[in-house]
């Protein structure tokens, strides 16, 4: 992956910045030019909640290039506290213990590497919720 391509998505992938529609309040994540629900194009910056529950998951045993070191790993669809959904990896969990409906929280992690001399890509994964708030 080229550096600009990685770099320009950082606000959305690392800070989980979204665009909240000023007209209908729908949270567009990843951001869009026009709102998915109402078509408006006025947004305010919005940060996604840090916790959610697991809607569904899959276990990857034959990884794409760049993901070999962490195989097997879990891909999950997470529903955040505000209802926004996000697809990412679920980490710090035994594969046998992962369950639909489990409570999760976000954690900053290495996602993949472009070989020995390429860039290292970081982003947000989710892990079982340990801390009570």
């Amino acid at each position: 992956m080229s550096v600009p391509r990685y770099w320009r998505e950082m606000p959305y992938r690392i800070r989980l910045e979204a665009r909240k529609c000023k007209l209908c309040n729908y949270v567009n994540y990843p951001p869009r030019t026009k709102c998915y629900k109402c078509g408006a194009s006025e947004f305010e910056k919005y940060y996604l909640p840090q916790r959610g529950i697991l809607l569904s998951f899959s276990i990857i045993r034959n990884p794409p290039t760049g993901f070999e070191k962490t195989t097997p790993y879990v891909i999950g669809l997470v529903e955040l506290e505000d209802g926004t959904k996000l697809l990412t990896q679920i980490t710090d969990v035994d594969i046998d213990e992962i369950k639909i409906g489990m409570e999760l929280e976000q954690t900053f992690r290495r996602i993949s590497e472009d070989g020995d001399s390429g860039i290292i890509q970081y982003g947000i994964k989710f892990r079982p919720k340990y801390l009570k708030f």
Partner: protein
């Protein structure tokens, strides 16, 4: 708008065609279609393909196939909508004939997935998903479909065996198809014990990787009898899209693009699902078969396993599903799959399907899907006399 007929079809066996190039494979399917009928001219070729840029180092596929057939300087170009490319090409071809822009249009799909080795084919196919927000996290195409399957089983309590049983049915159908990549029968145990691809999806939930080409030839219905004694009419056809990212979908238990495309195609054809005798649906994975049959109106939500058990998806049931064996057994030469479906439905309606023939079929439907339901095409054909 002119009414549009399919006057001929051709296809190759789906296989690992090591000895045939992209252009030769297309040529074989096109020749079969052109030899069946008395066509003095082809005015345009619309070709569908997904992976040639990655796997065969080739773009400009329209020119490649027009040149292969000695048809230059006619208009020829490629349409791409991931695994839905074939359906998209059919819609384009339909529109070109229907509008009066061209009279005789060849719609063909071709895919050479075996021209590259190792992970490249999987990588190329994965590009149907969102590169920045799905593939970035290490998701594979199978794993995205696995999210649907896990959710489906969780919500409806559907037994795992039901999905294996669908694969068994597809292989039974495909065993009668001379063009199928995997023309053999399997049993439930083989499917249930096959290796994990992306849990809970196992090998026998997945379409295989193979090469193939299929062609249909379209012209206005009013002149179809000039060229051929037997033909079908495309009564309805529609496409639809959905969000590229699964995270933006309202739920994982239905694919909105299928519902939209199907409703529009039914409306255009002035029929309901009950009128349909045979379908070729896009069962890339067994879970997409379950959800698609529900979205197309052939199955009540969550009742896939029950109806499958009752034989509802076999001849004599609610609708005969994938007499070809579907993507599971006929195979899934991705960009060509939608054209295979149109060719197979035409073959069935013309009663030329040999051992695969579903008797007394008047109305057939094709359902072709790109990505995880992010780009869908539905067409409805009727036997014309």
């Amino acid at each position: 708008m002119k009414r549009v007929a399919i006057i001929s079809y051709g296809m190759t066996k789906v296989d690992k065609h090591w000895d045939k190039s992209l252009r030769r494979l297309f040529g074989e399917a096109a020749l079969m279609a052109m030899n069946k009928v008395n066509i003095p001219k082809i005015d345009a070729i619309i070709v569908s393909n997904m992976c040639a840029s990655d796997l065969s180092d080739q773009n400009n596929i329209g020119t490649i196939v027009a040149d292969e057939l000695g048809l230059t300087p006619i208009t020829a170009y490629r349409v791409e909508a991931a695994c839905g490319s074939g359906g998209a090409a059919l819609l384009t071809g339909f529109s070109l004939v229907s509008s009066g822009m061209f009279e005789v249009v060849m719609v063909g799909g071709v895919e050479k997935l075996t021209d590259n080795i190792g992970k490249m084919a999987t990588f190329s196919l994965g590009k149907a998903a969102d590169a920045e927000y799905e593939l970035f996290y290490g998701a594979t195409f199978a794993s995205l479909n696995a999210l649907l399957m896990n959710r489906y089983m969780h919500v409806y309590g559907t037994p795992r065996e039901a999905f294996a049983d669908f694969a068994v049915l597809m292989h039974r159908n495909g065993s009668k198809n001379p063009y199928a990549q995997l023309p053999f029968e399997i049993n439930r145990e083989i499917a249930l014990n096959s290796e994990f691809i992306a849990d809970p999806i196992r090998l026998y939930d997945c379409a295989p990787i193979g090469d193939g080409a299929a062609v249909v030839i379209l012209c206005p219905l009013e002149v179809a009898s000039k060229y051929s004694d037997s033909f079908v009419e495309i009564m309805g056809i529609a496409g639809a899209s959905d969000t590229i990212n699964l995270g933006s979908r309202d739920d994982l238990l239905s694919l909105r693009a299928t519902i939209t495309a199907a409703n529009n195609a039914y409306k255009m054809a002035r029929i309901t699902p009950a009128d349909v005798d045979i379908v070729e649906i896009h069962d890339t994975f067994t879970i997409t078969a379950a959800i698609s049959l529900e979205d197309l109106g052939f199955c009540e939500r969550g009742k896939f396993d029950k109806l499958l058990n009752e034989g509802a998806f076999e001849p004599g049931g609610i609708v005969a599903v994938n007499p070809s064996g579907g993507l599971k057994s006929r195979g899934h030469p991705v960009g060509a799959t939608g054209v295979y479906q149109a060719a197979e439905i035409t073959m069935q309606l013309l009663e030329e399907a040999g051992k695969m023939q579903v008797p007394n079929s008047e109305i057939g439907l094709t359902h072709n899907m790109g990505g995880v339901g992010s780009n869908v095409y539905v067409s409805i054909m009727r036997r014309a006399r």
